[in-house]
């Protein structure tokens, strides 16, 4: 969004009373509205609130000098609740000690609050700057009028307006009332700080909530306490779509502390964001609810999803991608080039179903006053939570207030508000505030899973060992099926996640997609389809390099080719580009190459390693950010994998808070290590076979690389892009490629728990 788009939409808040309720009796209130997003990101079933003209940021200045800035995105560990308010504070010239961050309730007037897709910085950096710069100019105009000096001679700094010539100063609080009477500035009147003048943007800044986190005072979802609150545990159907057939709750009701047992209605139609239904035990405390639930005897009805078997599904996906599919993107004549190639290789890659397993399982608290419901929840998407509560309870949206607590991790799971609606429904039924607590077992058995996938690749080399043809096919259950019953075709959005946007310069290239139906809840997971697409594409690129007898980095440089902008839409492809125009955020092979070279340099590419030690590398653009991952892996003779070192080279344009960018990249490495080495959910008979961290394994401290060296290689002049997800995709292929270098064994399936990596 340009400055003009946003500033044209600036308007005085028309619902001042509401605003004052949110931020207190500010003397000066300002709203900035999000402009129209040129290409709304299509998300099945989810309205894209970015596309309307609702306001997305508010700030208020109190007479006591407190600047209140609303954080409207959810804090799940990226630091966004810290970073976006500091963008406002920087333009405004605030003293951070006098800034109070106020977490927004769910409301369309903030624009999209769906904190996923690595979009918060990308979409709200500019509006936040404008909000700050607008307020700054209005304060300066108020001061200039008061002092009878030209506005141009004033400046905002240290939480006040100054006129250096006359040495006059006035605090924001003292000017607030007058500033509120100033007209809203026009777009071309705004002045923005130059990079050298910024005190927050581009600098490391500690988390807003750091002190609360290290002292235990920070409020996460389960920490909400309401007078008279009850605790609930729900026995949910083991298989999607089952309903309780018989319920014997006699023993459960006898458990001390158990107050009631309530049937929760099943979802209707397609499951979408609806609660799963089941049987709820209401108790005085969490332990009693848990004990009561253990004593329930429930039998369940049949379900059309009871035949789901992930081993069979994985084989089926592999079969699908090994046969021709629907053509998604085509360049040249792949079949002819493969026929004429001096050498061809092909391989099928597979990845497992995954559970998000954020450290905080889903939890939500709800309270009713008459026909109005207030909820407190660690939700990534408070507006969707509000919609689902209103729909399920049959009340107007205006009667639902969604408060967002800190999230103990999200990774996409908490974009789905089923658990929030469950709490709201139960609280009304119980007639008292209710907190629904999910156990780890509930979380892993009833997730919106990262789908299992298969990708097949085939490539040809010419007589000079140069790649001439590249064919790739992908198949996986589509997230669309979460909203549209029977959907079996991956959407262009999903296929655009690291697949149809493959940047290789190879002269003949084709991408195809397969179809498969879905029988479990699936959903977005950190980096989504990029996880399997990057694993396959970059693993296979390494295979091809070895087939060509080439150094993998040199080969990758050739595959990436000369600096240019790649446009998949010119090759028959519907490519959403993460909801942004390619003209604004192109696929720039120069940036890919720069990241690749930095990571190769960082890991010491080309140095000799003993047998059992290997280097691996991958470079991938996702969510408009470019990330190269390089690692050193040690494989014992028995086949045990240790990863002492990772280097990440990331280009996210301007790094708004470099320390948090580094933290996201470090975390992405560990997240990638989990899914590469350990994690899998396997369904049999329609039920998840895993339940807790003993059988759904994630990386421990001892699995994490001791050294994760993050290099920010972006150009500060480029628009800032997100960093929550794009660090993840290149990690697993870098590990697999390093394992090949160490042992000569090629990993084509994740997690690699089943692979024999021993060597002698």
């Amino acid at each position: 969004m340009s400055h003009r788009d946003a500033i044209d939409a600036i308007a005085r808040p028309d619902r001042r009373g509401f605003l004052q309720g949110m931020v207190g009796a500010g003397a000066f209130l300002l709203g900035v509205r999000a402009g129209v997003i040129a290409a709304p990101e299509p998300q099945p079933g989810a309205a894209d609130a970015d596309a309307d003209f609702s306001p997305n940021v508010w700030l208020a200045i109190d007479r006591d000098d407190t600047v209140k800035i609303i954080a409207h995105r959810s804090e799940m560990g990226t630091g966004i609740r810290t970073v976006l308010p500091l963008v406002v504070a920087d333009e405004l010239g605030c003293d951070r000690a006098r800034v109070q961050v106020v977490q927004a309730i769910g409301d369309e007037k903030y624009g999209s609050q769906d904190t996923d897709g690595s979009r918060s910085i990308r979409r709200f950096y500019e509006p936040m700057r404008i909000a700050g710069a607008t307020a700054a100019l209005m304060l300066r105009r108020a001061a200039a009028a008061k002092w009878g000096v030209p506005v141009g001679e004033t400046r905002v700094t240290d939480h006040r307006v100054e006129h250096p010539k006359s040495k006059r100063k006035a605090s924001f609080g003292a000017l607030a009332a007058d500033a509120a009477k100033q007209p809203i500035p026009k777009a071309d009147e705004l002045e923005f700080r130059k990079p050298a003048e910024r005190r927050f943007v581009g600098h490391d800044a500690p988390l807003e909530d750091i002190r609360g986190i290290v002292t235990g005072a920070a409020q996460f979802g389960g920490d909400v306490r309401r007078p008279g609150m009850r605790f609930a545990m729900v026995a949910r159907p083991p298989v999607l779509g089952q309903r309780p057939k018989t319920v014997n709750d006699a023993a459960a009701r006898k458990v001390k502390g158990v107050l009631d047992v309530i049937r929760v209605p099943p979802f209707e139609g397609v499951h979408a964001f609806q609660p799963l239904g089941g049987v709820a035990v209401i108790a005085e405390d969490t332990w009693s609810a848990l004990q009561g639930r253990r004593m329930l005897e429930v039998t369940w009805s049949d379900s059309p999803h009871a035949a789901l078997d992930d081993a069979a599904l994985s084989d089926r996906l592999a079969k699908i991608v090994e046969a021709p599919g629907r053509v998604l993107r085509t360049r040249g004549d792949v079949d002819g080039a493969l026929k004429g190639a001096a050498k061809t290789i092909e391989a099928t890659y597979r990845t497992a179903r995954l559970a998000h397993a954020s450290m905080e399982p889903p939890v939500a608290t709800a309270e009713w006053k008459g026909e109005a419901c207030t909820v407190w929840a660690p939700t990534q998407n408070p507006q969707a939570a509000r919609d689902e509560v209103a729909r399920l309870c049959g009340i107007p949206k205006a009667a639902v207030t969604v408060n967002v607590t800190l999230l103990g991790g999200g990774f996409g799971r908490k974009s789905k508000p089923d658990f929030v609606a469950e709490a709201a429904w139960l609280a009304r039924k119980v007639g008292a505030p209710v907190q629904v607590v999910w156990t780890r077992e509930d979380d892993i058995r009833h997730d919106y899973y990262h789908a299992p996938a298969a990708v097949h690749l085939k490539a040809g080399l010419d007589a000079k060992q140069a790649p001439v043809a590249w064919l790739q096919r992908s198949a996986f259950p589509t997230i669309t099926s979460t909203f549209a019953p029977g959907a079996n075709q991956p959407s262009p959005m999903e296929l655009g996640l690291g697949f149809t946007d493959v940047p290789w310069v190879v002269p003949h290239l084709r991408a195809e997609g397969g179809e498969v139906e879905n029988h479990a809840r699936i959903g977005w997971y950190r980096a989504v389809c990029n996880v399997w697409h990057a694993f396959a594409v970059h693993g296979f690129a390494d295979e091809l390099a070895h087939a060509a007898g080439a150094d993998p980095v040199a080969f990758l440089r050739d595959l990436i080719g000369p600096k240019r902008l790649v446009d998949p839409t010119k090759e028959g492809c519907e490519y959403p580009n993460y909801g942004e125009p390619l003209a604004k955020y192109p696929i720039d092979t120069g940036r890919l190459r720069r990241a690749l070279d930095a990571a190769a340099d960082g890991i010491g590419w080309g140095r000799a390693t003993p047998k059992g030690t290997g280097l691996g590398i991958a470079v991938h653009r996702s969510f408009l950010t470019y990330v190269a991952a390089a690692c050193e892996v040690e494989v014992s003779r028995e086949g045990a994998v240790r990863i002492p070192r990772f280097v990440i080279a990331a280009d996210c344009g301007l790094a708004v808070n470099p320390d948090r960018v580094r933290a996201q990249m470090e975390g992405s490495v560990v997240f990638g290590v989990s899914l590469a080495l350990h994690s899998a959910v396997t369904f049999t008979g329609g039920q998840a076979g895993q339940s807790n961290f003993h059988d759904y394994r994630v990386a421990r401290l001892t699995d994490a690389p001791n050294a994760i060296d993050v290099r920010l290689v972006g150009d500060g002049e480029n628009l800032p892009t997100g960093v929550g997800e794009p660090g993840v995709p290149p990690v697993a292929p870098a590990i697999a490629n390093a394992i090949f270098a160490a042992t000569g064994k090629r990993v084509r399936e994740l997690p690699l728990t089943g692979a024999d990596l021993s060597w002698s």
Binding site: G222, L701, T702
Partner: protein
């Protein structure tokens, strides 16, 4: 009347089920919600507290086993949040989402109380029971070493 010593305060147990895990007593009855639930099976360490000075997983420690011993939670680790580990955690910017960090800090505090200068292997042994899905492990290691240095 039976009671538990939580952060130096006597909290009545009344007639609660003695098999209730300390975790749920602390969260639902003692008001110390800094103690977090993560797994209920001693697999993740989110619920780590000190019992008689030792780090325990409160999710598998029944309140009956805690009787007569001092329970210290993250809220009671220091008076003003100024334990060297808390300061090191802030300085190193360890937390991302923050949910597991109370448990991490309590495990690390028990380690440093016993061993003023732990080496990498000792840190691994003390901390490998504490999961972090955000992946803050490298900074956890660094912060423990920094705190150990300060405590000297």
């Amino acid at each position: 009347m039976p009671q538990l010593d939580v952060n130096g305060k006597a909290i009545p147990i009344d007639d609660l089920d003695p098999s209730m895990p300390l975790l749920w007593f602390l969260r639902d009855h003692a008001g110390t919600t800094g103690v977090k639930f993560g797994c209920g099976l001693a697999q993740c360490g989110c619920c780590t507290v000190h019992l008689g000075g030792r780090a325990v997983r409160s999710c598998v420690t029944p309140i009956s086993a805690a009787m007569g011993q001092k329970v210290v939670t993250i809220e009671g680790l220091s008076k003003d949040g100024d334990h060297p580990l808390q300061k090191a955690w802030v300085a190193a910017g360890v937390p991302q989402c923050g949910y597991c960090q109370a448990g991490q800090i309590m495990s690390a505090a028990a380690l440093l109380a016993e061993n003023k200068a732990p080496n990498d292997g000792q840190i691994d042994a003390a901390m490998s029971g504490n999961l972090c899905r955000c992946g803050t492990y490298p900074r956890i290691r660094a912060a423990i070493k920094a705190a150990a240095k300060e405590m000297g």
